[in-house]
């Protein structure tokens, strides 16, 4: 049974629809990451589940129980706010123990849990420190510890790594993933960063304008973006109109092979950069190299074909042509995705 279930949940702010009939399930011990651009309704989703925002329509159920009319403090969920919202007048231990005190835990139990949770988030011995004196990363950890300490049945994270620098963020994502699987925590996180979402989640839900655009494992979503919106949101821009017939498609880039069983007819086509192969200029689609960007393990090339949108290609360091060079392009069917309507 799903721990959390949303059925047709809608939230409107005046004329603006923040959530539009959203259905979502989160199973026990599952980590679900809601991914979407700002303003897509991600945070509102969390606020509805926490009871901080009333749904205009639809139903939220936790462990099979309808939550309408249940106030926030009786829902037993945890929420880590985007900007932490640590209580400025309390020290680290005071913040972390807050939820335990609200549940009436005794002093000894509180102290023990605070010790445990601070160890878990990698801040042992920080109990007496003032929250104002903590660095961004430490505040993040305290906020996480505070949310974890009362052992909520569902832990929600709102842009959990928003304000951290890259190195710390990548480390924390890995740590959290390990932590959640050890503790068996059920997690619903929202982020606008696909890297975070893919690294953290068992399942990714892509949102757009208050609706769910796609839901699946990180691999599924990455490999088979369902719509042009999802594809572009994930950073794939090699999208073109196509006429699919059999295992080939007619595009402005010429004939592009498509995987077997692709939907036929007029479609939108995505070619992932890895599927754009450089050839001799006489053999493929002739393009000019407009720009090359060093990406560490590969080079991203921006190619301008004679006609149609620009193409991004990924190629190995030693093979990368200079900007201004003329190259030919061929496509790999394995890296081509036929998208459904937006």
């Amino acid at each position: 049974m799903a721990l959390l279930r949303l059925d047709g949940v809608s939230v409107r702010f005046g004329a603006r629809t923040a959530l539009d009939a959203v259905d979502l399930e989160v199973a026990e011990h599952e980590t679900v990451c809601v991914l979407g651009p700002s303003g897509s309704g991600k945070s509102t989703l969390l606020r509805v589940v926490a009871g901080l925002q009333r749904a205009d329509a639809g139903r939220v159920t936790l462990e099979g129980r309808d939550q309408s009319g249940v106030p926030t403090h009786r829902r037993g969920v945890g929420l880590m706010f985007q900007d932490h919202q640590l209580f400025p007048q309390r020290d680290v231990a005071g913040n972390v123990a807050f939820g335990l005190r609200m549940r009436g835990a005794g002093r000894a139990e509180r102290a023990r849990t605070v010790d445990e949770v601070l160890d878990l988030v990698g801040l042992p011995g920080a109990q007496r420190r003032a929250v104002g004196a903590l660095s961004g990363g430490e505040q993040q950890r305290v906020a996480l510890a505070r949310a974890l300490a009362p052992r909520p049945r569902l832990l929600m994270l709102d842009e959990p790594f928003g304000q951290l620098d890259r190195g710390l963020r990548e480390r924390l994502v890995v740590e959290l993933r390990t932590l959640f699987s050890t503790l068996g925590t059920t997690v619903l996180a929202v982020t606008h960063d696909q890297g975070e979402a893919f690294a953290l989640a068992d399942r990714v839900v892509v949102m757009r304008d208050g609706r769910i655009a796609q839901s699946g494992t990180p691999l599924e979503v990455w490999q088979r973006p369902a719509t042009e919106f999802v594809a572009r949101f994930l950073g794939f821009d090699n999208v073109v109109a196509a006429d699919v017939l059999g295992e080939a498609a007619d595009t402005v880039w010429g004939k592009v092979p498509v995987p077997p069983g692709a939907p036929q007819g007029t479609q939108r086509l995505l070619v992932r950069p890895a599927g754009v192969r450089l050839t001799d200029v006489r053999d493929g689609l002739p393009c000019t190299v407009e720009a090359r960007t060093f990406r560490g393990d590969h080079v991203a090339l921006m190619l301008r074909p004679g006609d149609g949108p620009r193409l991004e290609a990924a190629c190995a360091l030693r093979d990368a042509p200079e900007a201004g060079a003329r190259v030919g392009v061929a496509f790999d069917a394995d890296e081509v995705v036929v998208l459904s309507a937006p």
């Binding site: 926490a50 639809g58 403090h73 945890g78 309390r90 020290d91 807050f98």
Partner: protein
């Protein structure tokens, strides 16, 4: 990463019927209003019984004749050119006093909020002392400073007691602390990085202050200005002493009509006029601050203060200190000097005389010294009442009920309710204390509310004036508490009440302490109402001082000065203790 621009879609329609939703909205709005009303109930009842009822009774007594209302009297009274002159003078001197107070005290508020300097705490308490001094005493102190044979007269031959300047300066003397405490309290907690952000964006020092800090302070400045205007509009003792026959405010006129000419109808009309004027004023205030106090980033006050840096800041500090010395310390010093200036040279003659009732030729039933104990216990009781009533009221005014995002009609209704309640709380400040005191006497002396012989009568009257202070001081800070901190507490399992106690209360503890200090100070200094209701055997300090001043002779005058000096010391000690409580508060758990 490239993000596709979100396409604009027509807003979808809910599968749910709009009727059900509206009903839910109404329920939520009703819940919000209900909890608000529950919080309002106690303050509302308090004001109905101890303010509206006595004032209404006294007005009715003045305007009713043989059971019939005599509204014709209003026209008669208001047509009188003398009354017209009084009205005009009352208004313009209040405006001028407010402007002058703001001009002199805002730099003071800044200095106290942002600079660290030796003796800051003592000085902060000292500037508050005038506020609690009986107005008559302060009037005499200014007379000794600016009048015939006063300090200025001796030094340069300048006399100001015949001009309106003496009144204005005395009003600044009284109200300096209102601005420093109300504005400075918030200023100290404003995050300086906001201003730094503006500086980085290219704003000059002044532009950054004007564009970032001033708007954040505006609600507090407006609140302080309103208070100062109300006080000076209803000014009584100062005008009595320094105004002479030429200048009289409404309150002075009401007192003369009530106590000296026994002309209750005219006094009643003037009370109504004063009440109406105050209502108009409060309405204007409510209209201007309709745009709500924005959520501010509040930080610990201790972190924002620093030693003055550079010539400009030192000059500012020096200027403020000079101003405080001349306007506040000098009159107080004159007061102390006079309390020791006995007939046989300097000595504690007057203080010794205070210890027995016998030395006073029947002015007192008890030794005047006992007035200190009376004042303290009355003051503490009044503070407790004011903090409870004012705290509940402020909480009701800041409550963000279920009406949020709910039915518009409900939210609008709640807004009107809040503004009306807000204004009601301020009324006692603008109402003639003389009217309130006299009203207490004639209404609270029969069952079911026979409080004639109860000691609580005095604290009740004093709390009435204290509540607006508590509300005004708490409101800007309460409203500035980030709503998401409360949400964080709710998610962690705190009920709304618990969240308020755990999150709001500690954050506003400082404001609460300031508010309590104000309420205590106001209670200690309250005179207009107390003089009517304090029993002869238990006078308060200001009442005792007034009684002594009302008697001729050097001994009585000297004793009045001695008692005033002690009142001043009591206030200073109480306020110092308060400052200490305020800064010791750290890391509560």
């Amino acid at each position: 990463m490239v993000v596709a621009p979100p396409e604009v879609e027509p807003p979808g329609h809910a599968p749910d019927g709009p009727g059900a939703r509206r009903a839910a909205d109404r329920r939520a709005a009703a819940r919000g209003i209900a909890s608000r009303l529950a919080l309002m109930a106690v303050p509302f009842a308090f004001f109905a019984v101890f303010f509206a009822y006595p004032v209404a009774a006294i007005v009715a007594r003045g305007l009713k004749d043989g059971g019939r209302w005599q509204f014709g009297r209003m026209g008669e009274v208001l047509g009188d050119p003398h009354i017209g002159h009084v009205l005009w003078f009352t208004t313009w001197q209040a405006a001028a006093s407010t402007a002058l107070t703001l001009a002199l005290a805002l730099p003071g508020a800044y200095v106290f909020a942002r600079f660290d300097f030796p003796g800051k705490q003592v000085l902060r308490a000292v500037v508050t002392v005038p506020f609690v001094l009986p107005t008559v005493v302060a009037g005499s102190a200014f007379l000794a400073l600016l009048g015939r044979g006063g300090l200025l007269d001796e030094l340069w031959g300048v006399r100001l007691d015949t001009t309106v300047w003496a009144i204005l300066l005395a009003h600044v003397f009284f109200n300096y602390a209102v601005v420093v405490r109300t504005v400075g309290g918030l200023w100290a907690q404003l995050d300086p990085r906001q201003e730094e952000a503006a500086r980085v964006l290219g704003a000059g020092r002044f532009a950054a202050w004007r564009r970032v800090t001033l708007p954040a302070l505006a609600p507090a400045v407006a609140a302080a200005a309103l208070m100062v205007f109300l006080f000076t509009f209803t000014s009584f003792g100062v005008i009595q002493i320094l105004g002479g026959p030429r200048y009289a405010t409404l309150e002075v006129e009401i007192y003369q009509q009530t106590a000296q000419l026994l002309n209750l109808p005219t006094a009643a009309v003037l009370s109504i006029v004063q009440l109406l004027a105050v209502c108009v004023l409060l309405a204007v205030h409510a209209w201007t601050v309709r745009r709500r106090e924005s959520t501010l980033r509040l930080v610990d006050a201790a972190r924002t203060a620093h030693r003055p840096r550079g010539a400009g800041q030192w000059a500012l500090l020096a200027g403020v200190l000079t101003c405080v010395t001349l306007l506040i310390l000098l009159p107080l010093a004159v007061l102390v000097q006079r309390s020791f200036d006995g007939p046989d040279g300097y000595g504690p003659v007057f203080y010794r005389a205070l210890q027995s009732a016998a030395d006073n030729g029947g002015t007192f039933v008890v030794a005047p010294l006992e007035a200190i104990g009376n004042s303290l216990s009355y003051g503490l009781a009044a503070t407790a009442i004011a903090v409870v009533i004012g705290g509940l009221a402020a909480a009701a005014l800041t409550l963000r009920g279920g009406a949020k995002g709910g039915a518009k009609g409900g939210a609008r209704g709640a807004g009107r309710l809040v503004r009306g309640f807000d204004a009601l709380l301020m009324l006692p400040l603008g109402t003639s204390a003389v009217t309130v005191g006299f009203g207490f006497l004639i209404t609270l002396d029969k069952p079911p509310l026979d409080l004639r012989d109860s000691w609580i009568l005095v604290p009740l009257a004093q709390a009435l004036v204290g509540v607006p202070f508590v509300v005004r001081t708490m409101l800007p800070v309460l409203r500035a508490v980030d709503v998401r901190l409360r949400e964080a507490a709710a998610v962690l399992g705190a009920s709304p009440l618990r969240a308020w106690r755990e999150v709001d209360l500690p954050l506003v503890g400082r404001a609460l302490a300031v508010a309590a200090g104000f309420a205590f100070a106001v209670s200690l200094g309250e005179f207009g109402a107390t003089v009517f209701i304090a029993r002869p055997e238990s006078p308060t300090l200001p009442v005792a001082v007034a009684r002594l001043l009302g008697r001729p002779g050097e001994l009585n005058y000297g004793q009045a000065m001695a008692l005033s000096t002690m009142l001043m010391l009591v206030c200073a000690v109480a306020l110092l203790a308060l400052e200490r409580v305020r800064t010791d508060r750290s890391g509560e758990f």
